[in-house]
């Protein structure tokens, strides 16, 4: 049986797995954005938080994903359901690129522009929302893009703890020693990653400020 035959026979299940995959990635990304971008902003305001925050996010990133899923298993409430567990782990993974890019984006704004704004009497909040964030937006979206592509790949591993998604086919195919089944999971996952990359890349270019 080749990939196409398998896909045709299982197309209902395949669509469900794709949706599940997209759902896991989306929820994790939204959570990561809600946490990561404010953290990135915070460490530009309080430089002493810079090292601990970026350090922790870095350490999380170095934990092998399968192990991180395992570590979180005993956690109350989270550990009860595989999808909660997967979402928490994925959120943690997405933090580093988001924090780092938000920080780098804001730090990369021309100091003359920031100083001019401050000298004109903008409050810190006005400076952040009207000057720094809009000018950093391209770099921040680049972080969202990197994180999203990363998560789409990582989410395939979430199937190992029963969270579903396209990893189901990959693990099933591995167990059955059946390349067609592996590819039925791997090809859509790769396509999703490409799609996210292109889409967010476009958004990144759209939102990058005009060259000075």
């Amino acid at each position: 049986m080749n990939v196409w035959q398998f896909v045709l026979q299982n197309h209902v299940e395949l669509v469900e797995l794709i949706l599940e995959h997209v759902w896991l990635v989306s929820v994790s990304m939204v959570l990561a954005v809600i946490v990561g971008i404010p953290l990135g902003i915070a460490i530009t305001r309080w430089p002493s938080m810079n090292k601990p925050v970026l350090g922790s996010a870095n350490v999380i990133q170095t934990i092998p994903s399968l192990a991180l899923f395992g570590f979180l298993l005993p956690a109350p409430w989270i550990g009860e359901r595989a999808d909660r567990l997967a979402i928490l782990a994925l959120t943690l993974y997405a933090l580093l690129p988001l924090i780092r890019n938000t920080y780098a984006g804001i730090k990369g704004v021309d100091p003359a522009v920031v100083e001019a704004g401050r000298g004109m009497g903008l409050t810190n909040r006005q400076l952040l929302f009207q000057v720094e964030l809009p000018l950093a937006l391209g770099v921040i979206i680049a972080g969202v893009r990197v994180a999203t592509v990363l998560l789409i790949g990582l989410t395939t591993i979430a199937a190992a703890i029963g969270a579903g998604g396209l990893g189901e086919y990959i693990f099933r195919g591995l167990a059955m020693v059946n390349n067609a089944v592996i590819l039925a999971g791997a090809i859509p996952a790769a396509a999703l990653a490409l799609l996210a990359d292109v889409g967010l890349g476009w958004l990144e270019r759209r939102l990058s400020p005009h060259a000075a």
Binding site: D110, A112, V113, E115, A116, G117, R118, G119, M120, G121, L122, T123, Q126, Q130, V131, P134, L135, P209, H210, A211, A212
Partner: protein, 258 residues
């Protein structure tokens, strides 16, 4: 917006020093009165403390000793945001917001001061005329303009909410000599009309003499001399002489070579 109408100096430095942690004095024991409506030029070489002096006025930097008064009131009694909005600020790198159109750049302070939209639009048109620009450029972005046009926009933006005080930090430094001369002329005409209190930083002696009603020569964080333009030209103080010599020699050398 206006300062109170009596004859207090617009800005006054009383024994002001600025010594950031670990470093030496950047500004040392500065006493200086800046009168209403005058253009006071802070002249000096790089690192003489003139830009720092400027930033002490709008509180981008805080003095480590001494007291600065604006309109007779110690600076620490001012609401810092209020104070900055009374002071127009023009810097060499211009600092226009690259993601804003010219109109939004110029209208930013009026906007955060909650002026109605049509009044802001009118004001932007007025200001573009005032600085010699075609009001049709209002919808363009800074990167679409030439250096000279951007610098004019920088001046227009600083004047937007009609502040009584203008701080200008080498505003024409990055321009080619012809454009610079043009902007200097226009600045003089503008200043005759507007009568702002201007503090103007430059290292260019010619610019200082052309624009300044008084010239404060700074060296190594200290105020060396404070002269009117005429006094400055005839002064025989060593540092003033050195400065004049440097410029004259430059000119003479160029003449000899050509």
């Amino acid at each position: 917006m206006e300062l109170s109408s009596d004859n207090r100096p617009a800005i006054e430095f009383r024994q002001v020093s600025f010594r950031p942690n670990g470093a030496g004095d950047i500004v040392q024991n500065l006493n200086l009165e800046i009168r209403r409506g005058e253009t006071l030029v802070l002249l000096g070489r790089s690192g003489s403390g003139k830009t720092t002096t400027l930033k002490l006025i709008n509180q981008l930097l805080t003095p480590t000793a001494g007291e600065i008064l604006v309109d007779g009131r110690p600076i620490r009694d001012w609401d810092i945001i209020r104070l900055r909005r009374l002071i127009g600020y023009v810097i060499q790198e211009i600092g226009l917001f690259p993601h804003f159109t010219i109109e939004r750049n110029i209208g930013l302070v009026p906007k955060i001061e909650n002026w109605p939209a049509d009044r802001i639009r009118k004001r932007v048109g007025e200001l573009l005329n005032l600085v010699g620009l075609d009001p049709r450029i209002a919808s363009r972005y800074p990167h679409e303009l030439s250096g000279g046009q951007r610098q004019r926009v920088g001046v227009a933006r600083a004047l937007a909410a009609d502040p009584p005080i203008l701080l200008m930090d080498e505003p024409f430094g990055a321009l080619d000599p012809l454009t610079r001369a043009e902007l200097q002329r226009e600045f003089l005409q503008l200043q005759t009309r507007l009568q702002k209190t201007v503090v103007f930083v430059t290292h260019d002696l010619h610019e200082a003499i052309i624009l300044g009603t008084r010239i404060a020569l700074m060296d190594a964080g200290r105020l060396v001399t404070l002269h009117t333009r005429e006094e400055f030209l005839t002064s025989s103080e060593p540092l003033v002489m050195a400065y004049k010599d440097a410029f004259d020699t430059n000119l003479n050398n160029t003449r000899e070579r050509s």
